[in-house]
C-alpha cells in the first residue's frame, strides 16, 4: 500500500505548485473576465459573458495581426534556425557547446535592452539603413522602424534560440550511419537530407514551432519598442487595458480569447503533425 502511494506523494509538491501558481490565478482571471464595473466604483461579479463578445468585436484585428506576426516570426526562425542547428550538430566538431553558448550569449542581456539596441540598428539613419541610403541602394525616405518588418524580425531575433535548441537536440542524435546507409542506397546528398535527416528532425521542428509561435504571438515588447501605431499586437492591447485603462475584465477576457485560440491552434497542429504522425512521414 505504502509503496503504491509513494510516487504520488513525491509529485505532490509539483501539484501544489501548479495549483497555487497556475490554477488559482487562472480561475481568478476567469472570474474577473466575467465582472462588470470600473476601477473607481469597483468590479462586481455579474457573469457578464458579453465581455468576450466585446473583446472579439473590438480587437479581432489585433488578434489576427498577432497570430500573423507570430506565424511570420516562426517561419523566419525555422528558416534561419534549422541551418544553424544543422551546422552546429554536423559541423560543430569539438566546439559544439561553444557555438551553442555563443548563440545564447545575447540572451544574458535583458530583453528590453536588446530590443532597444535593435532600434539603433534599424533607425532611419542608423548603421544599417544609413550606408544603404548614402550609396543609393535605398530611397532617402525608406524606413524599417514602425513597420511590421521591424516587429517580425525583432520577434524572430528574440526567439531564435527556442527554435535552434530543440532542432539541434534531435539532429545531434541522428546516427551518421543512417545517412551513410541512405547514400549507399543511391540517395544523393540532397535526397539523403530530404528523405532521412529532415523527417527524423521533424519532432524538433515541431517543438521549436510551439516554443516560438506561442510566445511571439503573445509578445508586446517588440511591437511597443520597434513598431508603430499600425503594428499594435494583442499583447499591447492587454497591457494598456490592464495598466492604462484599468479595465481588468476586458484585459482578462482578451487574454482568454487569445489563450483559447492558441490552445485550439496547438491541438489542431498536434493532431495534424503529432509525434506519431511526424514519425510516420513517408519516404
Amino acid at each position: 500500500m505504502k509503496a503504491k502511494t509513494t510516487p504520488y506523494l513525491l509529485v505532490l509538491p509539483a501539484w501544489i505548485w501548479l495549483a497555487i501558481f497556475f490554477v488559482v490565478p487562472i480561475c481568478g482571471m476567469l472570474s474577473v473576465s466575467l465582472m462588470t464595473g470600473n476601477v473607481l466604483d469597483g468590479f462586481t461579479q455579474t457573469f457578464h459573458v458579453a465581455n468576450y463578445a466585446e473583446a472579439i468585436d473590438r480587437y479581432w484585428r489585433q488578434i489576427l495581426r498577432s497570430l500573423a506576426y507570430g506565424a511570420c516570426a516562426t517561419a523566419l526562425c525555422v528558416a534561419i534556425g534549422y541551418p544553424v542547428a544543422a551546422w552546429i550538430a554536423f559541423r560543430g566538431g569539438r566546439h559544439k557547446t561553444t557555438y551553442l553558448l555563443l548563440l545564447l550569449l545575447p540572451f544574458f542581456v535583458s530583453q528590453v535592452l536588446r530590443t532597444i539596441s535593435w532600434r539603433f540598428l534599424l533607425a532611419d539613419d542608423g548603421v544599417l539603413l544609413g550606408p544603404l541610403k548614402s550609396i543609393g541602394l535605398l530611397p532617402e525616405d525608406a524606413h524599417v522602424l514602425s513597420t511590421p518588418l521591424a516587429v517580425v524580425t525583432g520577434l524572430a531575433y528574440s526567439h531564435l534560440p527556442f527554435m535552434v535548441l530543440p532542432i539541434y537536440a534531435v539532429l545531434e542524435r541522428v546516427d551518421h550511419r543512417v545517412v551513410e546507409a541512405a547514400r549507399d542506397l543511391y540517395a544523393t546528398r540532397a535526397q539523403a537530407f530530404l528523405r532521412v535527416v529532415l523527417p527524423m528532425s521533424l519532432p524538433g521542428v515541431f517543438a521549436g514551432v510551439l516554443m516560438v509561435f506561442v510566445p511571439t504571438s503573445a509578445d508586446y515588447v517588440n511591437a511597443s519598442l520597434l513598431g508603430g501605431t499600425g503594428t499594435t499586437m494583442i499583447g499591447n492591447v492587454i497591457q494598456s487595458q490592464y495598466l492604462v485603462n484599468n479595465d481588468y475584465p476586458m484585459a482578462a477576457a482578451i487574454t482568454f480569447v487569445l489563450m483559447a485560440l492558441l490552445l485550439a491552434g496547438i491541438f489542431g497542429y498536434a493532431r495534424a503533425l503529432g509525434t506519431e504522425r511526424v514519425m510516420e512521414v513517408r519516404a
Binding site: 546507409a181 513517408r282 519516404a283
Partner: protein, 381 residues
C-alpha cells in the same frame, strides 16, 4: 500486398569458371588517417580480387583495417593511394550512391521513421524503379529473409534478428554487383548468430550475389566462406579457401589466429628430397615440407588434432617427439592433452574419444607424439 508465389531473384549460374573481370578488385590500396599530429595507417597496401558470386570473408583481429577496407569499397572513404575496381571499372572518386555495391551495417542503420517496406524500397525508389515492380521486389525480398507480414512495422518494434533481416533485405533487393556485410551478426547472441550464419549462406546461394563478409570470428569465416583473406595490421597475411587457411597457415600470425596451433621453434639443417630436416634444441628433429633454406630459423606448426599420442613407438616415416603428459582435459567427445617436451616447449593434442580409446594417457605418463610429415609446415620466423 506481397505475391505469395515466390520465385526469388534470378539466381546466377554457379560460377566455377570465372569469366570476366573480378567483382571487386583492390590494387595497392593504402589508407592513412590523419588525426591532428599523428597519422594512423589503417590499411597498408592490399591487393585482392573477389570473384563473381563468391562468398568472400575479411577476417582479422580488431583494428586490423577490415571496416576501412569495406568503406573504401562502398565509397565512404577514398584510398590514400591505390585503385578500387568494381566489375573492372575504376571507381576511385565515385560517390557511394553511384557504386553498384550495397552495405549491411553492423548497427543495421535502418531508417527509424519508415516502415519495414519503405526501408526495403528505399534504394529502388531512388533508382526510379516503377511502382509495381518496387512492390513486387520488396515482397520478394521480405519473403527471402522470411519477414513477410511485417511490411508495416517500424524498425524500432522489431527484434535484433528481425532488424538484421530487414537490413539484409534492404541491400539485397537492389541486386547489387556485390553485397558488403560488416560484422552483420556482431550484435546477436550466440544462438541467433549461428542460425543467421546458416540463413545468410542459404540466401547467398539462392541469389548468387557476391558477398564480402567482415568478421573477427574465425569459426564464422571458416564455416561460411568460399575464400578468406586473413588481415593483420593493415595487410592481407593469407588469402585462400578455408581448408587451406586452416591446414596450411602461411604465417605465424595466421597459425595463431585461426584455431589452435602448435608452434615449435627450430632450425633447418639439411634437405631430404622435397622435405627438409628441422632440428629442435635438445629434443630431436622432424621432417617438414618447406622452401626455407638450410640454416634459417623456423617455427614448425602442426594442428592439435593431427598429432597422435601414445605409449608405443610410432610407425616408421612418422615425425616423432617424446614428452611428458601435463594437463588432461576431458571434454566428452574429445580429450585435450598438454604434453611437455624435454626443452620445456608444450604441444597441445586433441584426441577423439572413440570406442577404441583404450590406452588413454594420464598425467605424468611418458608418451610419444607423432604426425605425418605432410601435416606440418615450417613458417619463417
Amino acid at each position: 500486398m506481397a505475391t505469395s508465389t515466390h520465385e526469388g531473384p534470378a539466381p546466377h549460374p554457379p560460377t566455377t569458371a570465372r569469366e570476366g573481370p573480378a567483382a571487386i578488385g583492390l590494387e595497392g590500396v593504402v589508407k592513412t588517417y590523419r588525426s591532428g599530429q599523428e597519422t594512423v595507417a589503417a590499411v597498408r597496401g592490399i591487393d585482392l580480387a573477389v570473384h563473381q558470386g563468391e562468398f568472400f570473408s575479411l577476417l582479422g583481429p580488431s583494428g586490423c583495417g577490415k571496416t576501412t577496407t569495406m568503406r573504401m569499397i562502398a565509397g565512404f572513404e577514398e584510398p590514400t593511394s591505390g585503385t578500387v575496381r568494381l566489375a573492372g571499372r575504376d571507381v576511385t572518386g565515385v560517390p557511394p550512391d553511384r557504386r553498384d555495391v550495397n552495405m549491411v551495417f553492423q548497427s543495421y542503420a535502418l531508417f527509424p521513421h519508415m516502415s519495414v517496406a519503405d526501408n526495403v524500397a528505399f534504394g529502388l525508389r531512388r533508382k526510379n524503379v516503377p511502382k509495381d515492380e518496387v512492390r513486387r521486389r520488396v515482397g520478394e525480398a521480405l519473403d527471402l529473409v522470411e519477414l513477410s507480414g511485417l511490411h508495416r512495422r517500424r524498425p524500432g518494434r522489431l527484434s535484433g534478428g528481425q532488424q538484421q533481416r530487414v537490413a539484409l533485405a534492404r541491400a539485397l533487393v537492389n541486386r547489387p554487383g556485390a553485397l558488403l556485410l560488416d560484422e552483420p551478426l556482431g550484435a546477436l547472441d550466440l544462438k541467433l548468430r549461428q542460425a543467421m550464419q546458416i540463413e545468410l549462406k542459404r540466401i547467398q546461394r539462392e541469389v548468387g550475389i557476391t558477398f564480402v563478409y567482415v568478421t573477427h570470428d574465425q569459426s564464422e569465416a571458416l564455416t561460411m566462406s568460399d575464400r578468406i583473406a586473413v588481415m593483420n595490421e593493415g595487410v592481407v597475411e593469407q588469402l585462400g579457401p578455408p581448408a587451406q587457411i586452416y591446414e596450411r597457415p602461411a604465417s605465424r600470425f595466421v597459425a595463431g589466429f585461426i584455431g589452435t596451433s602448435n608452434l615449435l621453434s627450430g632450425t633447418v639443417t639439411t634437405g631430404v628430397g622435397e622435405y627438409a630436416r628441422v632440428e629442435f634444441d635438445g629434443i630431436g628433429h622432424v621432417l617438414v615440407r618447406t622452401d626455407q633454406t638450410s640454416g634459417s630459423a623456423v617455427d614448425v606448426t602442426v594442428r592439435p588434432e593431427k598429432v597422435h599420442i601414445g605409449a608405443d613407438e610410432p610407425a616408421p616415416g612418422m615425425s616423432r617427439l617424446r614428452g611428458t603428459v601435463g594437463e588432461v582435459v576431458y571434454l566428452g567427445a574429445s580429450t585435450h592433452y598438454t604434453v611437455v617436451l624435454a626443452n620445456g616447449a608444450e604441444v597441445v593434442v586433441f584426441r577423439q574419444n572413440s570406442s577404441d580409446a583404450s590406452n588413454a594417457a594420464e598425467r605424468g605418463d611418458q608418451v610419444w607424439l607423432s604426425w605425418r610429415p605432410d601435416h606440418s609446415y615450417a613458417l619463417p620466423r
